[in-house]
Amino acid sequence: MTGLLTLLILLGITIAIWQMVKIFDLAQANRDQSQIANDKDNSVNGYLMLAFLGFIYIITIISFALWGDLPLVSNSASAHGPDIDRLMIISMVVIFIVQTVTQFLLHYFAFKYKGEKGRKALFYADNDKLEFIWTIIPVITLAGLIMYGLFTWNDIMTINEEDDPIVIELYAQQFNWKARYAGEDNVLGKANVRLINLDNANILGLDESDPNAQDDIITTELHLPVGRPVLFKMRSQDVLHSAYMPHFRAQMNCVPGMITQFAFTPTVTTEEMRLNPEIYEKVRNINKIRNANSKKLQANGEEPLDRYEFDYLLLCNKICGKSHYNMQMKIIVETEEKYNEWLKEQKIFKNSLVQN
């Protein structure tokens, strides 16, 4: 019933708009007036072009004022993070300048040269020198950006085995994450989804006969020691997923049938990040919003929202099915001692199997 009613209302609104437009249309003196822009149209729209330029600038300023904290460009928590942020800021400055200037020229010309009856435009079809200039300027700018970008990319993607990274597997499945630590030997045991045995709780398909697998540790939270390079090996058991860790400027797809990898060094512990004034302020603001929402919920007799506390997160960032929107894992960066303590408390693979 409500459905029918809504449809009727929608229909009503549509007809109303239609009629309004029609009235407006009829009000345009007579139907036979020319539908080609005259001097008045040119003038009105010319000024509107100028106003639109103002609108573009204003929306830019407002956006930067309100949302200019840009979490993806500030407060990175990994060793390579500042490199990416610097490159991002340089690119954004270049873009900002080009955008401001070209939009000005475009809309200002559209205003300045609005048509007038009897005026003739300048017959100006070519100028090799000008065209050469605006080919060569982008070439030089882009060459710089490409070089800088490629160096940064190579630095990030080249994994230096000599750094003795901690090896951790990120294992994706619809719709949650698991982490597997390599244990004492720092070598991940062999694994394949064909070896998954739910009866004895071998949920990641580890090779039970592989000696390297015995001391592996499977967890549902990702703990990382600060200042140590970590090499992630990604695996997926069903569909494509993407391991996205925005605070660490890290992302890699998890692909069924192959192992992908990404490495970084966390540099800021969760505790330190929570004390960072900007993050502190952001969290406070979010809690203000949550409190307001909670009040509304409680007024309807529903549960209030939990208080938010900052945590690093691993999100799924490749469409993976119904609950894609809720596929996440908490990441905790801590001192090496705390990390080792935590690791010791976890069950190793050998002991986690259920004996039947």
């Binding site: 009613l5 437009v21 407006f24 139907r31 080609i36 822009a37 072009m49 639109f52 609108f55 573009i56 956006s63 949302w67 979490p71 993806l72 460009v73 954004m92 873009i95 955008q99 070209t102 020229l105 475009l106 010309f109 559209a110 040269y113 048509g115 003739k120 435009a121 300048l122 017959f123 100006y124 079809a125 000008l130 065209e131 080919t135 882009l142 950006l145 970008g149 490629l150 990319w153 190579n154 993607m157 058991q237 069903d238 569909v239 996205y244 400027r249 992302q251 692909v255 069924p256 049938g257 979010i286 939990d306 938010y308 960032n317 490749k318 469409i319 993976c320 099915g321 119904k322 809720n326």
Partner: protein, 596 residues
């Protein structure tokens, strides 16, 4: 180098047929009628696609709340008015598919290539009217199948418009990967056949049927754009067809092209040895050129509309042609920038970063040339002109952020966030839509013999322009907050709570933008019947289509096809009284043709 057409056989052709209703309006082989068919089918699909985007926007802004609109439109997919998470992904998928392929490829390129290629090069019709008709009806069939797929029991395809396997391959992974995905694949296979027939026809027509004097270097930029677009289509669409066929094999016949080592819902599947990354390569080998298949016709239309309404020659004709060709070439070697973090070798990432950023150079040349064309013009700000200027604006804004996304090191971070959504909607979605609108306003008199109402056109443009920026400009910033796209709701991430008010703002702009399209629809439909009758050449344009009679006749021109004596851009040329000199006007004594 110009081809001379034997006009006699075609002339006879024009007078002999007795046309019935069916041959004139339905199974028509006349390119002008087929263009209208493409346009109207495209507009209907566009209405569906835009409606879907509004449903998504309402869900994102007011998640998990009962909404009467959902209840009314989605039925069982919104029990109690709360949208189902699966159907959200289906909306994402079908919105993308419909807008990219059905509206902006078929609706835009199909309409204007068909209408303008024969008329602007001076041909009686397409090289093969029959193939042209088949092309349209295959497109129509694929549209019908795509719409039918919305109503299957387990839901339509919901793996994103890129339909990456294994998600798209396994009904166990997602409801939409059952019959809905089968229909999607069938529909797309038919669509590709349609597109290939169309493209081959365009290429052959441009190469062989130009009138006397119409050398390649005198072609209007519209034709250059359509021609090169068709070439890209012929090169890249077959690769998508192969991907679709292999995916059908994997889904239905147990092969393992794209699948390996899968454990789902408690069982190990038999697939072994395939790779989803292979699918990604095949898909994006079309997927990226597709961006230019969508965009180049819009840029071609813009070139023509801007030159005509600026009353000035398009600045740097040769550079414009060269940049179209450069973009087309580069577009086939940049696909990997969609896959920087797919698990492919990082060295490949470097190569694709390099080629991708190169594409910014011809794009920049085009933008600067448009701006220079405006300089010292005598701008007639008709609705078509406004949309063309709007296109240049969104093309710049959207294109510039490509510098960030094309840079592999930066893409790690913003890949698949709302930043990407904002980028491609501005640079290809909005820009191409503006191109479509510019084309409709400009060539409506040619199509229907009547004029569209300019004041409604102005309202349509200005509200749309403000809303387009209102939607997509703030969207960059929620992307920069790390918000992933394709999330049914963000309420499970308190981290993003402070972006929710931006989402609401965006949705309001989107709803207003959606509503104002009704003004366009009204203007379009009512003008077909009641619009002011057009004059022969309302925009005082140089190209040949305005020399053809207003009333459509089979064969386009009574008597001989006009001969061409000059390029299409002799606007405001010194030594002429009028500020335009149509292409069929012979050179005066001593008049110089520009070296082109």
């Amino acid at each position: 180098m110009s081809a001379h057409v034997d006009t006699h056989t075609h002339d006879d052709h024009g007078h002999h047929h007795k046309e019935t209703f069916v041959t004139k309006y339905i199974f028509s082989q006349d390119h002008k009628m087929i263009a209208k068919q493409y346009l109207i089918t495209g507009l209907i699909m566009g209405i569906i696609g835009i409606l879907m985007s509004l449903l998504m926007r309402m869900q994102i802004a007011w998640p998990e709340k009962p909404n009467v609109v959902f209840e009314a439109l989605l039925g069982k997919w919104a029990p109690g008015g709360v949208m189902d998470a699966d159907i959200y992904l289906a909306l994402v998928t079908i919105h993308g598919t419909i807008m990219v392929f059905f509206v902006l490829t078929a609706g835009l390129s199909g309409t204007f290539s068909n209408l303008l290629i024969p008329l602007q090069i001076g041909a009686r019709d397409m090289a093969s009217g029959f193939l042209n008709m088949v092309s349209y009806w295959l497109f129509f069939l694929s549209s019908v199948i795509m719409v039918i797929s919305l109503f299957v029991e387990a839901g339509p395809a919901a793996a994103g418009w890129t339909i990456y396997p294994p998600l798209s391959a396994l009904p166990l992974a997602q409801g939409g990967s059952g019959a809905g995905m089968t229909l999607w694949l069938v529909s797309m296979a038919i669509f590709i056949a349609s597109s290939l027939l169309g493209s081959l026809n365009y290429i052959v027509t441009v190469l062989n049927l130009r009138t006397k004097g119409m050398s390649m270097t005198r072609l209007p930029l519209t034709i250059w754009a359509f021609f090169i677009t068709a070439v890209i289509g012929v090169v890249s669409f077959p690769v998508l067809l192969s991907a679709a066929l292999l995916l059908i094999m994997d889904r239905s016949f147990g092969t393992s092209f794209f699948l390996s080592d899968i454990f789902i819902q408690g069982e190990v599947l038999h697939y072994q040895g395939g790779s989803p990354v292979l699918y990604e390569h095949l898909f994006w080998f079309l997927g990226h050129p597709e961006v230019y298949i969508v965009l180049l016709p819009a840029l071609g239309i813009t070139s023509e509309v801007i030159a005509t309404n600026a009353r000035k020659p398009i600045f740097g004709y040769r550079a414009m042609v060269a940049s179209i060709i450069a973009i087309a070439f580069l577009s086939t070697i940049v696909w990997g920038h969609h896959m920087f973090i797919s698990g492919m070798n990082p060295f490949l990432g470097s190569v694709f970063t390099f080629t991708t950023l190169l594409i910014a150079i011809p794009s920049a040349v085009k933008a600067f040339n448009y701006i220079t064309t405006l300089w010292k013009g005598n701008l007639q700000l008709n609705p078509a002109m406004l949309f063309s200027i709007g296109l240049v604006s969104t093309f710049i804004t959207g294109g510039l952020t490509g510098i960030i996304l094309g840079d592999s090191a930066l893409d790690i971070n913003v890949h698949d966030t709302y930043f990407v959504v904002a980028h491609f909607h501005l640079v290809m979605g909005i820009s191409a839509l503006y191109g479509l609108f510019a084309g409709v306003y400009h060539w409506f008199p040619k199509m229907f013999g009547r004029m569209m109402n300019k004041n409604l056109g102005y309202i349509h443009f200005w509200v749309t322009a403000v809303c387009a920026y209102g939607v997509f400009f703030p969207m960059h910033f929620i992307g920069m907050a790390g918000l992933p796209r394709r999330y049914y709701t963000n309420s499970n991430f308190p981290l993003f709570d402070d972006t929710q008010n931006v989402q609401v703002l965006i949705t309001i702009f989107a709803l207003v933008a959606g509503l104002v399209q009704l003004v366009f629809l009204y203007n379009f439909i009512s003008s077909i019947f009641y619009g002011k009758k057009t004059e022969q050449n309302p925009w005082r344009s140089n190209t040949l289509e305005w020399t053809a009679p207003i009333k459509h006749i089979h064969g386009n021109w009574e008597g001989e096809i006009p001969h061409v004596h000059r390029w299409a851009y002799d606007y405001s040329k010194p030594g002429h009284d009028e500020d335009f000199v149509p292409q069929n006007v012979p050179m005066k004594d001593g008049e110089e043709e520009l070296q082109h």
